[in-house]
Amino acid sequence: MTASIETVPSTSSRPAASSGPMSEELERRALLRSRFISRHLVPNVIRVLLIVLLIGLWQIGTNAKVLDSFTLGSPQGIWKSFAMSVADGSIVTDCLSTLSSTVVGFVIGSALGVLSGLALWFVPKVMRLIDPIVVTLNGLPKIALGPLIIIWFGSGKVSKIILAAFATFIIALLNSCEGSAKVNEESVSLVRSMGASKWQLFAKVIVPSSMPWIISAFRVNVGLALLAVIGGEFISADAGLGRKAAVAGNLYDLNGIWVSVLLILVLAALLNVVVSWVARRIEKIV
């Protein structure tokens, strides 16, 4: 199809123009197409090919006995292990267990953290008092409390949820406090000059202004919650991807470990996509 404008048949009584809305539209569409190809199609195709190449080389190396499948695992072995887990339904149980523990822990920790952080705005003295304590606690990797929490709460999901919630809570608290403290002082003066009560100031200025900090806490926390859950499952659990990896590890079942790792990767990506989507929706309003 040529781009010669003059050959476009004109159905109206107007003479064919050498540049008009029709040809501009065609040009725009052609540009869109080429841009899509170069920016999306080609890079993604190359990415897929690279991964396929990697997997292919791995498998070939295994088959040629250059790579030791006992120590490294192999793509075929991974696939077989995955198929077995699907067949006996353990995939669903483990994935759901880890996912639900993460989500529940994240939601509880975030809710408590944000509410406490914002509530502290009303009592700056208390906030100043506990701030160094909270910051110090934040330095502790929450997984260090894993064995303790599991002794207290058992090896079921409750202990994992508590670990995730605790990991999430501290950062949600710190971020909400920081957000409420960093509100533009001039905005506070303005609203005060209009005669606002403390509650009005809180609801109409402090809370909306703190949202960017709270959202950024979400992005960080979802990963930390997952980390806490997996770590807890490593220590002791009834189900879950972390437990699956640990069990496979104990049996020196490399392919089993890989399956768990890849599933955790998928889970993490999924959680990040959801949180990013929620964050963007909220940012549009604020």
Partner: protein
């Protein structure tokens, strides 16, 4: 030309010997304002001009009731100020529009805080949007507007509270020059037709001259009133650009410039 007229008109705002001290980092007392005494009359537009760092924003904070003075008193409509009141509104340097609210919601902010019912709020905001020709932006977000439009919204927000007195803290300084001229005119016209009393703080001597009935020149820290000059050329010129060509303009300018305790380059 240099007179300190005592008017028979009622003084709406009275400052009597206002002084304000701060404590610096070493907790030493730093006097920012030494003695501020002047009146503003009903319907007047007064500008306060001073050298940089003379505590002009502090002055407005004290007049509006946000900050208590260390000594002295501010009286508004014969009542001593001890906190924000409904008769005085404050327009700050930044527009401080809330990005998460629509334009209309921003204008209605003060009314919302006063629990004015929704339909009445809408009436007021619609009226101001119409007056300033921005009705089509009622449901837009602040980030979609230019700096000049945002300041107009801030002005509407201030006017919606229907205060008698409006304090303006260099509200045009962040705008480009042409938008500034436009807004100076709009503010003057609006204040005139609505009968508002205005107190403007500005670094721009020209702006002070073309907008005011009187200009209060204040000294460097610790601040006090150096001189109050009757200007008033805005009253017999149709716009601020015409006022800037008024024969008296440059005389006033030279006078005020000479008055200000600016730090000069040492030859």
């Amino acid at each position: 030309m240099v007179t300190n007229t005592s008017d028979e008109r009622s003084a709406v705002v009275s400052l009597r010997h206002i002084a304000k001290d701060y404590r610096d980092a070493n907790l030493r007392k730093v006097p920012v304002i030494r003695d501020l005494t002047f009146d503003v009359h009903s319907g007047e537009f007064v500008s306060i001009v001073g050298p940089s760092g003379c505590g002009k924003s502090t002055m407005l904070n004290i007049i509006s009731g946000l900050l208590p003075p260390s000594s002295g008193s501010v009286t508004i409509n014969d009542r001593v100020v001890d906190g924000p009141t409904t008769s005085i509104a404050y327009m700050m340097q930044q527009d401080l529009l809330m990005e998460w609210r629509t334009i209309r919601q921003n204008i209605e902010l003060g009314l919302e805080l006063r629990h004015v019912p929704t339909d009445r709020r809408h009436e007021v905001s619609s009226e101001y949007l119409r007056r300033f020709g921005m009705s089509e932006f009622a449901d837009s977000r602040p980030r979609e507007l230019s700096g000049g439009m945002r300041q107009r919204v801030a002005l509407m927000r201030t006017l919606a509270l229907d205060p008698d007195i409006i304090l303006l803290d260099e509200p045009f300084s962040a705008l480009d020059y042409q938008t500034r001229l436009l807004l100076e005119d709009e503010v003057l016209r609006t204040f005139s037709s609505l009968g508002k009393t205005g107190i403007l703080i500005t670094h721009d001597i020209g702006e002070a001259i073309v907008m005011s009935d009187r200009v209060v020149v204040v000294a460097n820290r610790p601040t006090s009133v150096k001189e109050i000059i009757d200007v008033g050329i805005c009253r017999h010129n149709a716009s601020v650009t015409e006022s800037r060509s008024d024969p008296e303009y440059s005389t006033f300018f030279q006078h005020i410039w000479g008055d200000l305790d600016q730090q000069h380059l040492v030859d």
